[in-house]
């Protein structure tokens, strides 16, 4: 597993808050989507996102949403997974819909309710706008998460570097990802240290709260930066940055499926755009 942050150490931090964080990270799998070349997936994600943002109507959004559900199935995750992981997005979307409906009074009046001074009305314009926004929202987040769930960031970084991204930049991403489990652990440790010193987040005045946030961040930052020197030496002693380019062990050539996907899906989305605009 890429981030077994449910593992022994990482889970330290998430206990108690577990329900809150759906953990939108990489999910190991062997589906078609998992096997696609990471760069192809990146291109597809960008195309899809562009299609979402340029799609002017809620009908277009709905079509894209159905496409997305289909892709979740192709990713071996299924719509159920989608709903479970992104439940909070739906709640969020519902609230946006409500606001849009309350705020916009255009088109036809579909329904209204009078409660004394309070006057509630649903207008067709508000409903359409609201649906459009919500679908845009869900589509963007849903597709991003599908990408994250099926793409190993390590593979993506290596693929990007091979495609021409300067390797020093690529390794920033890899190194940052490398330290994340460690930072999670340290975050938990520092929180524990706060509690051991008698500091509790409940019932703190705002003034004290800022202080406590500082107590949390300063040790983390100092600890992280104290690694920088050693890391630099370790990497430089292994010829990091010595030459402008480097070689790579693993080859990640584009497969037939990759090529088909790379050509067909953007074309499909272009077609979609022509139809719906």
């Amino acid at each position: 597993m890429m981030f077994p942050n449910r593992g022994k150490r990482g889970s330290f931090s998430s206990t108690g808050l577990k329900g809150l964080f759906p953990g939108l990270t990489y999910v190991e799998g062997a589906s078609l989507l998992h096997h696609l070349h990471p760069l192809v997936k990146l291109v597809l994600l960008i195309c899809f996102t562009l299609a979402v943002f340029t799609s002017p109507s809620w009908q277009g959004g709905l079509v894209l949403f159905c496409l997305l559900l289909l892709s979740y199935r192709m990713g071996g995750l299924g719509p159920g997974f989608f709903v479970r992981k992104l439940r909070f997005i739906f709640i969020f979307g519902l609230m946006i819909l409500l606001v849009q409906i309350l705020w916009t009074r255009e088109g036809y009046l579909l329904w209204q309710l009078d409660l004394g001074r309070l006057h509630l009305a649903v207008w067709s314009g508000g409903l359409c706008d609201g649906l459009g926004v919500v679908l845009r929202f869900i589509n963007v987040i849903g597709s991003s998460y599908l990408f994250v769930a099926t793409t190993d960031p390590n593979r993506l970084a290596y693929a990007l570097m091979k495609a021409g991204l300067p390797y020093r930049a690529g390794f920033m991403l890899i190194t940052a990802m490398r330290f994340i489990p460690l930072f999670r652990l340290e975050l938990a440790l520092v929180k524990n240290a706060q509690m051991a010193k008698g500091i509790e987040l409940e019932g703190l005045s705002p003034r004290l709260l800022i202080r406590v946030v500082k107590y949390l961040l300063v040790p983390l930052v100092v600890s992280a930066l104290s690694k920088v020197d050693f890391l630099t030496m370790s990497m430089e002693s292994r010829a990091f940055g010595l030459y402008p380019t480097r070689s790579y062990v693993s080859a990640q050539a584009l497969s037939g499926k990759d090529k088909i996907a790379l050509v067909s899906i953007p074309l499909g989305l272009l077609l979609f755009y022509c139809i719906f605009s």
Partner: protein
């Protein structure tokens, strides 16, 4: 004899600079994901779909300010913003790929502002932090809610601005000070530039508390007066009553409620003579349509007025006639607007008026 020290001049950002950006983005990404959820939680607590989370938006920019302050080369903040966005995407940001754009935007803004102010001190950090934090609202609006009311966007941006100034700028600068003192890594290596930074920070220290206090007070003042103004003068709850739009060939398109024209109210007596129904003459009290239209200054060439109802029903009038007619009123009927056109047939007495279009 001091030998000349060979420096790694091959790259603009040294390996160490890159790794500083990497580790800071790493923690920033981890914490921001949590902060993001915290923001969503705040939204739910306050019962609004978005906005309340902006109270903590400064914490997202905090890391970018920290990277800029430690490396002190233009471009570092942009790199930190971009990397942090990507990390957030992969560690489970609830914004998806949009977060990369938002975070990159924040990095660019911090870089640009620090480049413009040409110094690294509390004031420039506060400025950079505030504007960068506020930019996230605009980026999100651009992406999703192009139709949201402008006042609402302004209001939320203001919250983000304050959060950025306090949490990214002020708080960031004080953490930076502690970190520079703690020297977790060789601050004096390389160009020696960082050493000057420490001195500068110390030199500025005497005035810091005052500046901080003054800016905080100023912001709070601006913030509260903005809020008061917003609620007293601009804010218009959607449930107060029927609203009508005037658009088309007018100088000042407008949305109005009948109560805005209370002083012009008159009463006319009219009889509805329709093809199906006839209502005998009775008194109607409302605002002459002429007044409402003149208020928006129709353009010289305009000829027609289209009155539209919420159900899509449309009737055309000759504009000049309407502007001369004291007998056409807009009245309130239950919770909708109704047109009383005394000199016209019943088909022109539009119910549930929603829109006036001048053409």
């Amino acid at each position: 004899m001091e030998k000349e020290i060979r420096k790694n001049k091959k790259y603009y950002l040294s390996n160490r600079d890159l790794l500083i950006v990497a580790v800071l983005s790493g923690i920033g990404g981890v914490i921001s994901t949590y902060v993001g959820y915290l923001g969503n939680l705040l939204n739910r607590v306050f019962g609004v779909p978005f906005g309340a989370g902006q109270f903590v938006s400064g914490l997202h920019v905090f890391w970018i300010i920290l990277a800029a302050g430690l490396i002190r080369k233009p471009g570092a903040a942009t790199a930190a913003g971009l990397l942090k966005g990507v990390i957030e995407l992969f560690t489970g940001s609830s914004h998806g790929i949009a977060i990369v754009l938002v975070s990159l935007m924040q990095g660019v803004i911090v870089d640009v502002i620090l480049l413009l102010t040409r110094r690294h001190n509390l004031v420039s950090y506060m400025l950079a932090g505030g504007i960068a934090a506020a930019s996230n609202v605009l980026t999100f609006q651009l992406l999703y809610f192009s139709g949201a009311p402008r006042t609402y966007i302004l209001f939320i941006s203001l919250i983000a601005l304050v959060s950025g100034v306090l949490l990214a700028g002020s708080f960031g600068s004080s953490v930076l000070e502690i970190v520079l003192q703690a020297r977790p890594y060789r601050i004096d290596a390389g160009t020696g530039q960082e050493t000057d930074a420490v001195v500068e920070t110390k030199g500025g220290k005497r005035i810091l508390p005052h500046v901080r206090l003054a800016i905080t007070a100023l912001l709070l003042l601006a913030f509260s007066s903005g809020a008061v103004y917003y609620y007293a003068a601009v804010f218009e709850p959607p449930w107060t009553g029927p609203v009508c739009h005037v658009e088309g060939a007018v100088e000042k398109p407008d949305s109005f409620q009948l109560s805005d024209f209370k002083q012009y109210e008159t009463t006319v007596t009219a009889e509805l003579k329709g093809t199906v129904t006839t209502v005998p003459a009775q008194d109607y009290t409302g605002v002459p349509l002429r007044v409402i239209l003149q208020n928006t200054h129709p353009l010289a060439g305009a000829k027609t007025l289209v009155v539209t109802a919420t159900d899509g029903y449309k009737v055309e009038f000759e504009l000049q006639k309407v502007l001369a007619d004291e007998q056409i009123l807009l009245i309130r009927e239950d919770n909708t607007l109704r047109l009383i056109a005394a000199n016209y047939p019943g088909g022109h007495w539009v119910k549930m008026v929603n829109k006036l279009t001048v053409e």
